[in-house]
């Protein structure tokens, strides 16, 4: 019985006799591990079948883990818990002042300045401004649609032109900016939610800039 006619899937006889010495045993297997198969007619079905079966196992394992591991959340314990809990659900919006500040510096600070004081005679201040601290509808509308015309802020008159910055931003971004502005530099107004921004954006539709007169008709300045 010679070795050449065997596939490596089949056992061979390294030596005659029933019992082999240990060194012969190791040596025979070292050949099996090292030597390449001679090319031959037909092919051995075993390796390819094994590979397919194992790939199947791997595929199933991935599928099972995706479905039953609750996104690897450390706080999910029960497979039968309601889906929202297991999947972390859609998160409620929370105004993020840090993001708001970052966006403010990018979008607004060139006119209103990083300290919110504006430029006297050119751009009105936001700090301690009645326009900012009062109705959230008013400030959101201004950010979304812009405002142009003569405007009086904290007793000083300005004749500015603010573009519709908010039209190019997402609801959550606008909400973050407005929330930041309403809480910075000594302002103490409530933050606004993204749903409120969405609501107003839908209500005013696509429109031109407000004039100060028009917006004051809708939302007069609050008297303290």
């Amino acid at each position: 019985m010679t070795d050449q006619h065997h596939s490596s899937d089949q056992p061979r006889r390294p030596s005659a006799g029933d019992s082999v010495s240990d060194s012969r045993l190791v040596e025979a297997h070292s050949h099996l591990a090292r030597d390449k198969e001679e090319p031959k007619e037909g092919f051995s079905l075993l390796p390819i079948v094994v590979v397919f079966i194992f790939c199947g196992f791997g595929f199933w394992a991935g599928l099972y883990l995706t479905r039953n591991a609750a996104g690897f959340s450390p706080s999910a314990f029960d497979l039968n818990a309601p889906r929202e809990v297991a999947n972390d659900g859609p998160k409620a919006f929370e105004p993020d002042l840090a993001k708001g500040e970052k966006l403010f510096l990018q979008q607004c600070a060139s006119c209103h300045q990083a300290n919110g004081l504006g430029v006297p005679g050119a751009f009105p201040p936001l700090a301690n401004s009645a326009w900012v601290k009062g109705s959230e509808d008013r400030i959101i509308k201004i950010v979304l649609a812009g405002i142009a015309g003569e405007i009086e802020v904290n007793g000083m008159k300005y004749n500015g032109n603010m573009p519709n910055i908010g039209a190019g931003l997402k609801d959550a971004q606008v909400a973050n900016i407005v929330s930041y502005v309403r809480s910075a530099w000594g302002n103490h107004a409530d933050p606004v939610m993204d749903t409120k921004v969405a609501e107003i954006r839908k209500a005013i539709g696509s429109r031109g800039q407000y004039s100060p007169k028009e917006i004051l008709e809708q939302h007069p300045l609050e008297t303290k």
Binding site: S8, D18, S19, D22, H29, A33, F57, L65, L79
Partner: protein, 456 residues
């Protein structure tokens, strides 16, 4: 079935002689613990049926004896036998002549003395509530030292091996030699010495339990099967190139399987699911092991040839047990099936399948091969070998049928009582006594001519 073909060659006997003393010590202590554990297991089996049996004295109540039985079996019988088996196997494969046998002897003595102390503490009721960690915590330090002295020699033998091919048995032995002390130390630290909080403790314990069975027991037994099949059948292992994949996947997945035994507990869901996945992926190494083992043995009427060889007959039963275990383990780790059999006698059956039908049968087969080589004498009586094989085989099959079927029935709400295991327990005791008479006959035949002492 006798060892007619036993003709020691010169080099082999030098290697064998260098490890003979510790191997005899480990085997002799293992046999004593095995017989003791079998006696205790008959008592606990009777107690399950008639709970007044020996119940009058607190020392012999069921709770203590059941814990004692488990510890004697795992640490006394299997672990001692694996010390000897791994040492002998690695020395033979690397042709390592053991110069410091007294160190291994010392380790064996420490291990067995601490086990004796721990066993007494368990009977006195001074124990912890986690299975296989029942012995009081001061035991763990001494037994860890004992283990290092007794069981790290395969690693030394391996590091001094002649250059060249590393046979697959050597991988498995080396793996289990390193896994056991790491698992043992970490678990005793995190469960007994500075206990982890909450559910983490249960996770650590189940990790220990699974590693102990899969990566210490089973991995060492797999190494022995890989050795005895080509050794006794005179053939090379079929599809040997797959054995590397089998080894790495086995060690990768085995230690991840433990959370599957904690399904439904307050562990994060993903840990439980990873446990389920790992348990099913254990089928990959098990398919490879089956191809390697059965492919070699079944080729060219090899099965009937193996049946007529004492060692291979035990190994053959062990291989089928391993395959059955792997299939049941994978299926019953999935959530649906697991929910049925959890907390039933089914788990007792699965554990028996692995630690007795597979691991202990491999050790039996290996002992019939090794003991003549390290004592220089022959087995006393082939009749006792037959008696041992048949009572252990019938015992293990009947225990499996009883526990697995009853476990399924319990889980499906079809029965409420715990099945009786008296019949298999008595069969095991008979078989183990037959085995013990044969083995101690050989060990003492050597003793009467020499001066070496075995553990008593």
């Amino acid at each position: 079935m006798s060892q007619d073909s036993y003709r020691p060659s010169f080099t082999l006997s030098r290697v064998d002689a260098s490890v003979a003393q510790p191997v005899r010590l480990f085997f002799a202590s293992a046999f004593l613990w095995l017989i003791l554990a079998s006696i205790v297991s008959v008592i606990t089996a009777i107690q399950l049926k008639d709970n007044s049996f020996l119940g009058g004295c607190s020392l012999t109540t069921y709770g203590r004896l059941k814990a004692l039985e488990g510890n004697l079996f795992a640490y006394g019988w299997v672990t001692n036998a694996l010390f000897g088996l791994n040492l002998w196997l690695m020395s033979s494969l690397t042709r390592f002549e053991f110069k410091n046998a007294w160190l291994a002897n010392l380790g064996g003595v420490i291990w067995n003395l601490t086990l004796t102390y721990g066993a007494i503490q368990i009977v006195l009721g001074n124990m912890n509530g986690l299975s296989l960690l029942e012995m009081p915590k001061e035991v763990s330090l001494a037994s860890f030292v004992g283990f290092l002295l007794a069981a790290l020699w395969p690693a030394v033998a391996f590091s001094r091996r002649p250059t060249g091919h590393v046979y697959v048995s050597q991988w498995y032995i080396l793996g289990s030699t390193f896994v056991f002390p790491i698992t043992f130390a970490l678990t005793h630290l995190l469960v007994l010495w500075c206990p982890a909080q909450g559910v983490l403790q249960a996770l650590v314990h189940s990790w220990f339990y699974q590693n102990f069975h899969l990566l210490w027991f089973a991995s060492s037994a797999i190494a022995a099967v890989y050795y005895f099949i080509p050794k006794e059948s005179g053939r090379t292992v079929a599809a040997y190139y797959l054995s590397t994949v089998g080894f790495w996947t086995y060690f990768l997945f085995a230690s991840w399987t433990s959370p599957a035994s904690l399904l439904g507990s307050p562990l994060p869901l993903w840990i439980q699911s990873v446990g389920v996945v790992a348990s099913l992926l254990m089928l990959i190494p098990l398919v490879i092991l089956s191809i390697n083992f059965l492919g070699t043995l079944s080729w060219n009427r090899g099965l009937s040839q193996s049946w007529n060889n004492t060692t291979l007959r035990f190994v053959l039963v062990a291989i089928f047990a391993l395959i059955l275990w792997g299939a049941l383990f994978a299926v019953f780790s999935t959530r649906g099936f697991n929910a049925v059999v959890r907390f039933t006698s089914f788990n007792v059956g699965l554990e028996h399948l692995l630690s007795y039908s597979f691991v202990s049968f491999v050790i039996f087969g290996a002992t019939y091969f090794i003991l003549p080589k390290v004592t220089g004498s022959f087995w006393l009586s082939p009749k006792l070998v037959h008696l041992h094989f048949w009572s252990s085989a019938i015992g293990t099959v009947s225990l499996l049928v009883i526990t697995l079927v009853a476990g399924w029935q319990q889980g499906s709400g079809l029965r409420t009582d715990w099945p009786s295991g008296i019949f298999p327990a008595v069969l095991f005791l008979i078989g183990h006594i037959a085995f013990g008479i044969n083995a101690f006959g050989m060990l003492t035949a050597k003793l009467s001519s020499g001066h070496e002492s075995t553990h008593a």
